[in-house]
Symmetry: C2
Subunit: 163 residues, 2 copies
Amino acid sequence: MQTVLSEAQAKHHHAEEAVQSLRRIVKALHDYSTSVEQQIGLTGPQLWALWELSRAGSLSLKALSAQMHLDPSTVTGVVDRLQRRNLLVRVPDPEDRRRVILSLTVAGAQLLKRAPHPAQGQLLHALHAMPLKEVERLDHALKQVATLMEVDSTDVRFFFAET
Amino acid sequence: MQTVLSEAQAKHHHAEEAVQSLRRIVKALHDYSTSVEQQIGLTGPQLWALWELSRAGSLSLKALSAQMHLDPSTVTGVVDRLQRRNLLVRVPDPEDRRRVILSLTVAGAQLLKRAPHPAQGQLLHALHAMPLKEVERLDHALKQVATLMEVDSTDVRFFFAET
DNA sequence: ACAAAACAGTTTGCATGCAAATATTTTGTG
DNA sequence: CACAAAATATTTGCATGCAAACTGTTTTGT
């Protein structure tokens, strides 16, 4: 019983620490975004959108929001602000007049050239600085966490006693 | 050279996968927040604020925002909405009249009783479902990632070649 | 052929979230 | 004591982000 208890406590400890680390990671990502904004005057999502557009050549708004895992209504706003600064254009799709084709302008493409890699760059950089074995394990563990979180999405209430 | 190259590729692969998993985790956290909102009519931050307040008894706005790692101006808004629903009260601190003391109302405390554990509950639940060894490794790896990201916050530009 | 359903994009309304500016109060220094 | 500096909370302005409602267009089913 003693063993079980202390093992549970150890797990609790590491779990809390892991959550804390995730918070730090999210914060670091945000700070990186802020520094990018200072450098080139684009917010994280704005740079990300341009980057996806550059990668794909051109995209419908729906496709772009799928790439970014964001709601189309959110992306509409981001695209508005980019268009207002002449970094991209909206062109109606002749094939399907519901659709809008988004493409970079020359100004947009040029800006991208002097811009850093979008948001996740920081994270990827950190991962690349770690030994392969470590990255493998991290990958595996995170995948497990993500899956567990997705599976148990219903009634997780009171999993923790109030101590 | 062959070995080095494929090892780099393996690392790249796992790094990309890890980023993807982090995205899934963030999304799962958000989905959990949404389900909580459906259940008890409070957003994630609102529940979180009440919970911190309950844990501490009472807090100044500054202290609460420190607990939540949020800007005071953000917390002001959250507190506004909670106060509007009579879940907490603002009382001027007689000791220091700049300060405001936040405390739960009876209604707030009662609501908390039937509320699930705030946001991170989902994540903690998932971590507790994992073997201790795994949680330990995850904790360690995440700590490393967070530290690396914080250290290299300046010029990470172009760490990745455009492939 | 044409009503119904599905789809793409936008608009509106709301809740975060931060930075910068402001008002009030307290503290520290000469 | 006086006055500058710091601290606390708020306000304002802006950019995400989602859900729901709405418009127009295309596809589907009968």
